[in-house]
């Protein structure tokens, strides 16, 4: 067969795209700093048992409420003589574990609900699923969290379940919106005309094309979960004692705020920086992944 090729393949010798991380750092320096902080946060959480100077649970009745720097306690001690720095590092562990588990659980459910709902947008399936989501969103989140956490009792697992209810509607919204858009793409019709069934279309055509905005959403939700988890622990229905958790530390430090502000300031600062970092990363990723923002 002798059919002329119209021109040489346009991209025949296109240099390999520069590594994504380098480009991200160049285009979004603030996002790169946030990413660095988050990486640090993860490393610290994972390595807490090795880098923490003290056992976070070890009480030292002699050195209670020690000021930072005194007696080898870099961030001071609390009213039971526990090392605040060590507790904060271990707290990162708890927070990370809860946030990751919550995003995985809530994200998975929200994703499935959103994708199915979006693909069947306008049908009764969509209506039923979305009314349930509306109901979840209609209840003020703190009330919902209090209710579920109080109902199930304080434990890490139950905190994850309660927080997931916060994540599901948000992920659902983004996933559904994206799927509504993708559903109308000609490549979905092409897939159907080729003979693909609905599950295959959702997984092979839907999911890969809606992940980008979900990553952004996930990053922002990470910050929300960190705060919500702290709020639950602060109120005493989140992570049960003696597990170190930032929210619980803030709660415990509250009564000693005037005598030992470091009990509140240290975990509070770490929490704020983490939340800020996740928010910055989310914003940076949104701009980075949006082709229209490309210079």
């Amino acid at each position: 067969m002798s059919i002329a090729i119209s021109g040489t393949a346009r991209a025949a010798h296109r240099p390999r795209a520069r590594s994504g991380l380098v480009r991200f750092t160049r285009e979004q320096p603030l996002g790169a700093i946030a990413l660095f902080l988050i990486t640090l946060f993860v490393v610290v959480a994972v390595l807490a048992p090795w880098i923490a100077p003290y056992d976070p649970l070890a009480q030292d009745r002699v050195n209670i409420l020690t000021a930072p720097g005194v007696g080898g306690h870099l961030a001071g001690t609390d009213e039971l003589g526990r090392d605040v720095l060590s507790r904060s590092l271990y707290g990162a562990r708890t927070s990370l574990l809860i946030a990751v588990a919550t995003l995985a659980l809530g994200g998975a459910i929200g994703l499935v609900v959103g994708v199915v709902s979006g693909y069947f947008g306008g049908t009764w399936i969509d209506s039923v699923l979305q009314r349930i989501m509306d109901a979840l969103m209609a209840i003020p989140s703190i009330v919902l969290l209090l209710f579920v956490a109080a109902l199930l009792g304080p434990s890490v697992r139950n905190t994850v379940i309660a927080l997931s209810l916060l994540v599901i509607p948000s992920i659902n919204r983004v996933a559904r919106g994206e799927m509504l858009r993708i559903r109308e793409e000609p490549y979905v019709e092409a897939a159907r005309s080729v003979g693909c069934g609905t599950p295959r279309i959702l997984i092979r055509y839907g999911l890969p094309n809606l992940m980008a905005p979900l990553f952004v959403m996930g990053s922002l939700l990470f910050a929300v979960i960190l705060i919500a988890e702290s709020a639950l622990s602060f109120l005493g229905i989140g992570t049960p004692p003696p597990t170190p958790s930032w929210g619980r530390m803030l709660s415990e430090g509250r009564s000693q705020l005037e005598i030992a502000p470091w009990m509140t300031v240290v975990p509070g600062l770490i929490l704020s920086v983490s939340v800020l970092a996740f928010n910055l990363l989310g914003d940076a990723m949104r701009d980075f992944l949006d082709p229209k923002q490309r210079r």
Binding site: I3, S6, V194
Partner: protein
Amino acid sequence: MIVPGATPLVEAHDLVKHFGDGKGLLTPRRPPVRAVDGVSLTIKRGETLGLVGESGSGKSTLGRLILRLIEPTSGSVTFDGHDIAALSKSSLTQLRKRMQLVFQDPFSSFNPRMTIAQVLTEPMVVHGMGDRASRVKRAKELLDLVGLPSFALERYPHQFSGGQAQRIGIARALATDPDLIVCDEAVSALDVSVQAQVLNLLKEVQRELGLSYLFIAHDLNVVRYISDRVCVMYLGKLAEVAHADDISERPRHPYSQALMASIPSPDAHHQLRTPLAGEIPSPRRPPSGCRFHPRCSQSIDGCDRDEPELLTIGGSGDARSVACHLFDPTSAR
């Protein structure tokens, strides 16, 4: 390659598709959009049937009804003896193998996250054809058939030019060895020089594989170049069906004539005909009687009242169907 006496590959009978019957709980009831309103046609084996009409005439909807990508409001489509409206889901999937679609914009018809190898093997995977190695081999053959090098397999759709992408679109349509390909404005988005290449490719492929095309386009030049027969569609109905040469040389229906007259031509006598004025009316509220009568330069008494039937006129040398009172011996003049 028309086998004499063989049954047509596709027979559509009185196809109707209305969109949005307005039965929402709170929305006021509106008349539906009559995208396709009673169309019957046949596509013979090895034939290219052209389908022309202005934007909004229902061409694409008709194409998708024939592929059963959308459900008809009423009417039937028979594909190689099977009533596709009555098919179960699994037998419909089986039949999908034998009818394919080529899109107007090739780029948006590919999943941007799939390589060309994945795009081309997808139909084979779905239909359980061959193993991995044989599918890749077939994908290479398909690329060769449409004149693209096999290193295209590892690339992504956006790395190709429009013409190349459309070749890939054709290759995908050929992957399952279909009997019918619906080309929905398949060359409309391409440069004129590339259009010719793709049209020739389609012709060449047809010669080799003996498949049928339903070729949807608004460009009459393109349609008459590639088609054996041409259907002229207006507001969801067929105005005229005739051989490609007849419709370009001797259009009968005033709408066909107007379409022909609107083709820019150096030929002086084309300019004498009345070009088409105004816009196509809303398919939500089509005009009474003959749908074309408000824009028709030759309308007679009764055109606004009675809807003309699609009638076969002319002898064996010039057989065609026209839906117009001017050619209906029984209509009151």
